[in-house]
């Protein structure tokens, strides 16, 4: 496991460096064109990137959680979810319990964020809480824990910021180029540009168009590999790949889209929030591997839950000799046996109504509603604005104190 993390870090470092070079190139040529000095552009690009990085490092998780409109919960709010997260915290060997957020949205999705394993958060939608049984929830949380444990969360934040910087630079440059071109022309005629200027202009335009696309490709290359690794880790933590597989199946079958997701935050989620149904297996521009393929790999894990088993399953599904897990992580792997389903999962779905009730109760509570149970069994939800001291039960007419 540890070897895998290290090998991933090297590969990611190379990719991030590649994106950095791209950013500097964009800055250099923009500077060359607009201020007649590449260094000026370089400095500008570095300043933009540096400021965004500082913001991402210190406030990134808060911003993302704010954007997703998640609400933080404590153990008493929802013991079941808290317990499952704590279980996986123990299984993954994380030292600190991550914060837990619930997003009030019927879509099925989840994500992890944070600066490092000691300051991390997992967020999951209320739809997910309603639809998944305990084994499936464990699988999903295991996947998110793996993102935290493998330090994907920080890498995702850094690459997202790099990508964002490149996109912002290119965007402003295009605006200036098209709408502010006049002022520039006057200046360049006095300095006497000629064909050199034209070449720089051409390179700058090509870079402006290509850089965001290339950066996005790099971003996807990083995130896809990490999705596989997170799946493999989840299977290893839970010793039960079927849990995550059947959770992904439910996620894939759901049609509702997450309202609060956007393009920049998409790679964080366990499944792509913007996916189209029936997406082709070779869809390169996707941040996530196709769900059907991830499910098939998890279901093909015969005989064990180790990385070696996942790698073998991956090769079997892809009919290729190249695996997805780094060699160094496989050589030290010990056989890991699978476990059986828990009773809750085996009985089918006995308590999904109860689960839906629990989840909605948590959401009411998080919105500061108070709950009073009337003597006739009716549950009254009192909004925070309600100031009177008594309330009449609409069902039986009894007067209840608030």
């Amino acid at each position: 496991m540890w070897e895998q993390i290290r090998s991933n870090q090297t590969r990611s470092a190379i990719l991030v460096a590649g994106m950095g070079v791209l950013l500097l190139l964009v800055g250099y040529f923009l500077g060359l064109y607009f201020f007649d000095s590449g260094i000026g552009g370089l400095i500008m690009a570095l300043v933009v990137w540096g400021v965004m990085n500082l913001v991402a490092f210190f406030q990134g998780d808060n911003i993302l959680l704010g954007l997703s409109k998640g609400k933080k919960i404590s153990r008493d709010d929802y013991p079941r979810l808290y317990n499952v997260v704590e279980e996986l915290k123990i299984a993954s060997g994380l030292e600190k319990m991550p914060d837990i957020y619930i997003i009030d949205d019927p879509a099925l999705n989840a994500f992890a964020t944070g600066r490092d394993p000691n300051r991390a958060a997992v967020a999951i939608t209320s739809g997910l809480l309603q639809k998944l049984n305990r084994d499936e929830l464990q699988g999903v949380i295991g996947h998110e824990m793996a993102h935290i444990k493998n330090r994907d969360v920080l890498l995702m934040a850094i690459t997202a910021v790099l990508l964002g910087s490149i996109v912002i630079l290119a965007w402003y440059a295009t605006r200036i180029l098209f709408f502010g071109g006049m002022a520039r022309d006057r200046r360049s005629s006095s300095s006497g540009g000629g064909s050199g200027q034209l070449i720089i202009l051409a390179v700058a335009i090509v870079l402006m168009i290509l850089a965001p696309i290339m950066a996005q490709f790099i971003y996807f290359a990083i995130s896809r590999k990490r999705e596989y690794l997170a799946d493999a880790s989840s299977a290893l933590y839970t010793r039960y790949p079927e849990g995550l597989a059947s959770a992904l199946e439910k996620l894939a079958a759901s049609t509702s889209q997450l309202k609060s997701a956007n393009k920049a935050t998409a790679p964080m989620y366990i499944i792509n929030p913007f996916r189209k149904r029936g997406m082709a297996a070779s869809d390169l521009t996707s941040t996530h591997p196709p769900i059907s393929e991830r499910i098939r790999i998890l279901r093909s894990m015969a005989g064990g839950a180790s990385f070696a088993n996942y790698d073998q399953a991956y090769r079997q599904v892809h009919r290729s000799s190249a695996g997805v897990i780094a060699k160094s992580a496989l050589t030290t792997a010990e056989p890991v046996s699978l476990r059986a389903a828990t009773p809750e999962a085996r009985e089918g779905e006995p308590d999904h109504i109860q689960r839906a009730r629990d989840t909605s109760a948590v959401l009411w509570q998080l919105s500061n509603y108070r709950t009073i149970t009337c003597a006739c069994g009716t549950r009254l939800r009192i909004p925070p604005k309600f100031k009177q001291s008594k309330i009449k039960c609409p069902h039986c007419g009894r007067i209840n104190p608030v």
Binding site: P79, N83, V84, E87, I90, A91, G93, R339, T342, P343
Partner: protein
């Protein structure tokens, strides 16, 4: 010239020794941490069991034997709390299977399954069982890596000189422990 050579070799050997020693210490600390986590969860279970018995007692008039078995297993486990990993795993395994039998019998008591107090306890107990399982998993992984380090050359030399001993695994020997028991209505 030869002097520099010998001094150089000695320095390199000392560095290797220090690095290996530090790695062994790190791994041993991880084993101890992992063990502390198991311990926390096992203690949590000792605390939960009396509450559970108290709650279900009123409902389960005909299950005295099952309840007594759980209480007995819990007390035995608590008495063995200071013994080694191997011994402890055995008695804790007994407690796990006694509890699993009790929770399986619960299916026959619909009144009990409607009791909020019991449901909360059941959630806690299920989760504690899972946490025991997961912390055991992590502990055994840590022990494996630590033991490997104390056995492979050359770190076994450092380990034997500085007194690092192999740790014991926490293996639950009771069969069917993580599988839920089957209920027969006879």
């Amino acid at each position: 010239m030869a002097w520099y050579f010998i001094v150089g070799i000695v320095v390199v050997l000392i560095i290797i020794f220090i690095v290996t020693y530090n790695r062994l210490v790190r791994l041993r600390n991880q084993v101890r941490n992992a063990w502390a986590q198991i311990d926390v969860q096992l203690k949590r279970r000792y605390d939960l069991v009396p509450n559970l018995i108290e709650t279900v007692k009123g409902y389960m008039k005909h299950e005295r034997e099952t309840l007594e078995a759980v209480t007995k297993a819990r007390n035995l486990a608590q008495q063995a709390a200071s013994s080694g990993a191997g011994e402890r795993a055995k008695v804790e395994g007994e407690l796990s299977s006694a509890l699993a039998r009790l929770l399986a019998v619960v299916e026959r008591y619909p009144d009990l399954k409607a009791n909020q107090n019991f449901l909360a306890l059941q959630e806690e107990l299920t989760s504690t069982e899972n946490k025991i399982g997961f912390s055991r998993q992590f502990y055994n992984d840590s022990v494996l890596r630590y033991n490997n380090q104390t056995q492979v050359f050359p770190s076994n030399l450092v380990a034997s000189v500085t007194g690092f001993k192999a740790s014991e695994f926490f293996e639950v020997t009771v069969a069917e422990e993580r599988k839920a028991p089957t209920v027969s209505f006879t």
